[in-house]
């Protein structure tokens, strides 16, 4: 069955071609159905392969589709690698993907241009599957670029809005910066190890000395790529702006799958990162900074999707901290649970926005608990999962990260713990403001309020169930139950950080986080529901730190001042002085001077045949004399 792995990306590609080519000729209701079916078929095939790999496939299998690039010694087959890491990613991508496709049918119901939306969405899934299936860095890179493209297309889906187009461009350009790092890293890998294939590279790397400069450089360059795709400092600002796209897109691309590509890539290259503790330390520090700063920004955002976006950036930071301390399975564990609960939260937010006729501002919501019962219940589960209440999924993965970080560095642990408190605060703030209190929207919105259709609520319920039970695949050791995920992933890891904290510490950690969470719940309930404290209507009223945070630390403005403006200045200087003043004059000058010269020379052509012949004969004689002399 593993030989049929090519079917997995084939279905979404087929869906893309079918929907994209037939386009308007397809009945309106059909495009969503086809797209969902295609991804679901991929999911079925993935599930079958997953079962097979889980049963006996500890040996990675390589499925070669065709010989792709073959020049001299270099041979890059277009091949897929089926091992335990890729099957897990397959399950997440196709599983969450098909749920979100189903949800999109309901969400995009009122929109024009269904086929374009669904064909892009299918194309995205296709590239994402290439990314996780590729058996060498080049196939992975193709997928990597492809998902970036689809992200751009879908953020700019409503291309008539100039702000949305700018957000799409921003995402694309920031990703390009990261992609350059990745590309350089991949080329350096070839230079160092002489191959692009995962298996060959890692085999060669195992005999490499630790901390060699080449490996550190590779790791850092690959991490630059991950910074772009997975929205880490300094390249994270595109992700909050990417919320311009339709909400299911935010859920699929900018929460569950594409942004975790960076983490997948680092986990895949774990052999290299183990060899370079220096680079790993940088990964951990960048992740930590991102987790903390994004969480503080999340505290003061008033757009429901913006809060979730900063939350995603922050959670991705968590995963990178885990990667940096060498806990690769834990990072992947968090990728999985995060895919469940963040997709759930985004879809729930989408359901709220749908009910509110497109309104995204928290200050206009409130009291939606009664009108949106299913959305409310599932959103609550998502909130508790991300805040880390046991037994929801987020609790297990987050605690595991915290425990691993404690062994690495208590200072980092402390910052990360504060971050998780902040996470709970902003998520509960979001929850209370949305679902409790009085309705604060317009009369028109109030009349229009309705629970979403079944196509939207079914994915919500499924994801809510997954967010509830998803954590049990990785129970902490203190419960003496098997950690299924760690066992499952063991064959693809090289040297794993197996040290675990003491049992007392584990229980202490759980107890403290649970107690803190309960305190935060009551505190935020008190503030936002009982005292009914509303966020300021106008950001200008804010003072001090709150103002700084509400303005996202002015990072966009700083980038604008430090990078965009100088770049524009240089461009216009180069254009005016070098291009127009020098190069243009050189080119035009050549033309003008030749024109003038020919204007003089043309008088040689008198039209007098005798003259021509005379000069011809003189010429012949001169040539003759010259040949005789020389």
């Amino acid at each position: 069955m593993v030989q049929f792995a090519w079917l997995i990306p084939m279905f979404p590609l087929l869906g893309f071609l079918l929907i994209g080519l037939l386009n308007k000729r397809l009945p309106v209701s059909l495009s969503g159905g086809i797209a969902t079916l295609m991804v679901f078929l991929s999911f079925v095939v993935s599930a079958v392969i997953f079962r097979e790999v889980a049963q006996d496939g500890s040996v990675p299998e390589r499925v070669v589709l065709f010989d792709w690039i073959s020049v001299g010694d270099l041979s890059i087959p277009f091949s897929f690698l089926i091992d335990r890491l890729s099957v897990i990613m397959l399950m997440v991508v196709t599983g969450v993907g098909s749920l979100i496709h189903l949800y999109s049918i309901g969400y995009m119901h009122h929109e024009q241009d269904h086929p374009r939306y669904f064909s892009y969405l299918n194309l995205f899934v296709f590239f994402m599957l290439l990314l996780v299936l590729g058996s060498n860095y080049i196939v992975m890179f193709v997928g990597w670029e492809g998902v970036g493209l689809c992200s751009y297309l879908l953020i700019g889906f409503w291309f008539k809005n100039i702000d949305y187009c700018n957000a799409a461009k921003k995402a694309f350009i920031m990703n390009r910066i990261g992609d350059l790092g990745l590309l350089l890293g991949v080329l350096l890998i070839y230079n160092t190890f002489g191959s692009f294939g995962f298996r060959e590279v890692f085999e060669a790397a195992r005999n490499f000395p630790e901390n060699s400069e080449a490996v550190t450089a590779i790791c850092l360059l690959l991490f630059v790529g991950a910074m772009g795709k997975s929205a880490q400092i300094p390249l994270y600002t595109w992700l909050p702006d990417a919320m311009a796209g339709p909400t299911p897109v935010s859920a699929l691309i900018h929460a569950a799958t594409m942004v975790t590509a960076g983490i997948y890539m680092v986990v895949r290259s774990n052999v290299l990162y183990v060899l370079s503790p220096g680079a790993s330390e940088i990964v951990a520090l960048v992740g930590l900074a991102t987790a903390f700063f994004a969480a503080t920004i999340g505290l003061k955002q008033n757009d429901i999707k913006k809060v979730l976006a900063y939350s995603t950036v922050s959670q991705l930071g968590y995963m990178f901290v885990a990667l940096g301390v060498g806990a690769y399975q834990t990072a992947l564990f968090h990728v999985i649970t995060h895919a469940f609960f963040k997709a759930l939260l985004f879809l729930g937010a989408g359901s709220v926005i749908h009910a509110m006729s497109g309104e995204q501002d928290l200050r206009r919501m409130g009291g939606l608990k009664k009108v949106l019962p299913i959305t409310h219940a599932t959103f609550l589960i998502g909130t508790l999962a991300i805040a880390g209440l046991p037994p929801f999924a987020g609790f297990f993965s987050k605690d595991e990260i915290l425990a691993k970080v404690w062994e690495h560095s208590p200072i980092m642990f402390f910052v990360l713990a504060v971050t998780s408190v902040l996470t709970a605060v902003y998520m509960l703030r979001l929850y209370w403001l949305t679902f409790y209190g009085e309705f604060r929207g317009t009369q028109h919105q109030k009349q229009h309020l309705h629970e979403s259709p079944a196509t939207m609520t079914i994915p919500l319920v499924v994801l809510a169930v997954l967010s509830t039970i998803g954590g049990f695949i990785g129970m902490p050791e203190v419960f003496h139950t098997p950690h299924y995920l760690n066992e499952f992933l063991a064959p693809v890891m090289w040297k794993v950080n197996h040290h675990s904290a003491s049992e007392t510490f584990e229980f202490l950690l759980m107890g403290i986080s649970l107690a803190l969470l309960l305190i935060i719940m009551f505190a935020t309930y008190n503030t936002y529901v009982i005292k009914n404290v509303m966020p300021e209507e106008n950001d200008k009223d804010l003072q001090g730190f709150a103002k700084l945070v509400a303005n996202k630390y002015y990072v966009d403005e700083i980038y604008e001042a430090l990078i965009t403006k100088p770049l524009n200045g240089i461009s216009s200087f180069v254009y005016k002085f070098i291009d127009q003043g020098f190069i243009d004059k050189l080119v035009n000058g050549t033309g003008t001077s030749l024109n003038g010269l020919s204007g003089v020379l043309r008088f040689v052509q008198t039209g007098n045949i005798g003259g021509y012949i005379f000069s011809m004969v003189i010429g012949i004689i001169v040539i003759l004399v010259l040949t005789m002399i020389l």
Partner: protein, 106 residues
Amino acid sequence: MNSILQVIPLNYYVALAAILFSIGVMGVMFRRNAIIVFMCIELMLNAVNMLLTAFSTYHGDASGQVMVFFIMAVAAAEVAVGLAILVMIYNNIRTVDINELNKLKW
């Protein structure tokens, strides 16, 4: 076996051909009547033809003479075209003075 052409030494042929060719060149350069110019061109061609024949004989290789036949055939065709052009020129401007044909300039 010696050919009759070999009765005269080769140098004589070369000198004669050079003289004929020079006369042709001078004619083309300094005469104004198009027909005379035309005849001078033929003269140049035939000077070359003669040289070819002579060399070919002295070299014992017939291909030079074959070449001469080709040249004559082409020259005949060229003469036909050239004379036709001259007739047309005369019909149009009532003269064959080549210095009158100087419209094609700058």
